[in-house]
């Protein structure tokens, strides 16, 4: 029976997904658009809402768990947009590869609420090429005793690389933890000249 219908093709999945993402974005029907990029610090998954870039994660090679979490938090209308989000993709690529110092696009801090949101805002004030200790950041947000909570907020920063949680290190000079792994943190900091590479 199937031979009768074997001539009907299944379509070009990537071209179709691109068409759908464009039409759905125009129609205002997308909660989250997704794109992956390859950088020196690994394959990143970028996610953007209509407001702006909302999430950067280091699991671009195997992003299913993150995509599910984003759908739970931000809405189920999630679409891959392989050829869209170009400005966002180029901006993050340039940052990760050390070709630029700041990200100019819009950000959506919906995934950083409460205390974590305060910490994330404080991280944006740390200048390029400098580092701060977790205690410094705790004092900056007016909670000098909350050093551990600051560490957690840094680890859960929804926009690493773009919001420079990599510039927060331990007071003993060791790098401390990082969502992308210690090697990625070292690459980012040495690119900025903040540590010896």
């Amino acid at each position: 029976m199937s031979d009768l219908f074997s001539s009907v093709p299944a379509g070009d999945a990537e071209a179709l997904a691109t068409l759908l993402a464009a039409r759905a974005t125009d129609a205002g029907l997308v909660d989250v658009r997704l794109r992956t990029i390859d950088t020196r610090v690994g394959t990143l998954l970028l996610a953007a809402t209509p407001v702006g870039l909302v999430s950067v994660t280091f699991d671009g090679a195997d992003p299913d768990a993150t995509i599910e979490r984003l759908a739970d938090r931000l809405g189920s209308r999630v679409l891959r947009d392989v050829r869209g989000l170009d400005d966002v993709a180029h901006g993050v690529e340039a940052l990760a590869d050390g070709r630029t110092r700041t990200f100019d696009g819009d950000l959506d801090l919906a995934l950083a609420s409460g205390f974590r949101g305060e910490v994330v805002r404080a991280l944006r004030e740390i200048p390029y090429g400098e580092t701060r200790s977790y205690g410094d950041v705790a004092r900056a947000v007016g909670s000098p005793g909350a050093v551990r909570a600051v560490g957690t907020a840094c680890r859960l920063n929804p926009l690493p690389i773009v919001i420079p949680c990599h510039r927060v290190v331990r007071s003993d000079g060791s790098l401390g933890q990082y969502a992308g792994g210690e090697a990625a943190k070292r690459v980012l900091l040495s690119t900025e000249g903040a540590i010896e590479g």
Binding site: L4, F5, G11, A13, L16, L20, A24, V30, V78
Partner: protein, 155 residues
């Protein structure tokens, strides 16, 4: 239980939906019909029951959208057109589409939903508002007619 990210639905069912619309509308309108179907599905998606049969829901939408596109399109093949015996180079894709277009509506719908959409006959029946027995019979009559038309074209 929450709905999976819509992207997963596209990846899982995109090829099947494409084959459904492609068989009905042909190559030039297939991308439009495919995206019409997924756009309609995306619009309704947040209201979908998490336990719903997503394949049946999508294939039903795709079939309706394909028929809409076919009705709109001035490029559609005449329903009466039969395979062109004189064609020097056989194009199995075009032949199948012409033969499908020559079927009565009910038969064509049942064949497309069952054989291209992969829906079992009870779901084909629900999608078209007919009995399961009628859907099964229309599909097998349709396939018999298709074979006859395609063999006639092969002579």
């Amino acid at each position: 239980m929450t709905l999976p990210p819509f992207d997963r639905v596209v990846q899982q069912h995109g090829p099947t939906v494409y084959r459904v619309v492609r068989a009905v509308v042909g190559p030039s309108d297939a991308d439009d019909a495919w995206s019409d179907a997924f756009l309609a599905a995306l619009e309704a998606y947040p209201r979908l029951d998490a336990e719903a049969n997503v394949a049946g829901w999508l294939v039903t939408i795709a079939h309706r959208k394909a028929i809409d596109v076919l009705r709109r399109s001035s490029r559609s093949l005449s329903m009466a057109e039969v395979p062109d015996r004189a064609a020097p180079h056989r194009d199995p894709d075009l032949d199948l589409r012409r033969a499908l277009a020559a079927l009565p509506d009910r038969q064509r719908s049942c064949v497309v939903l069952h054989h291209l959409g992969g829906l079992p006959f009870d779901e084909v029946a629900a999608s078209l508002g007919v009995s399961s027995t009628a859907a099964r019979k229309a599909s097998s009559d349709g396939v018999r007619r298709l074979r006859a038309l395609l063999e006639a074209g092969d002579e």
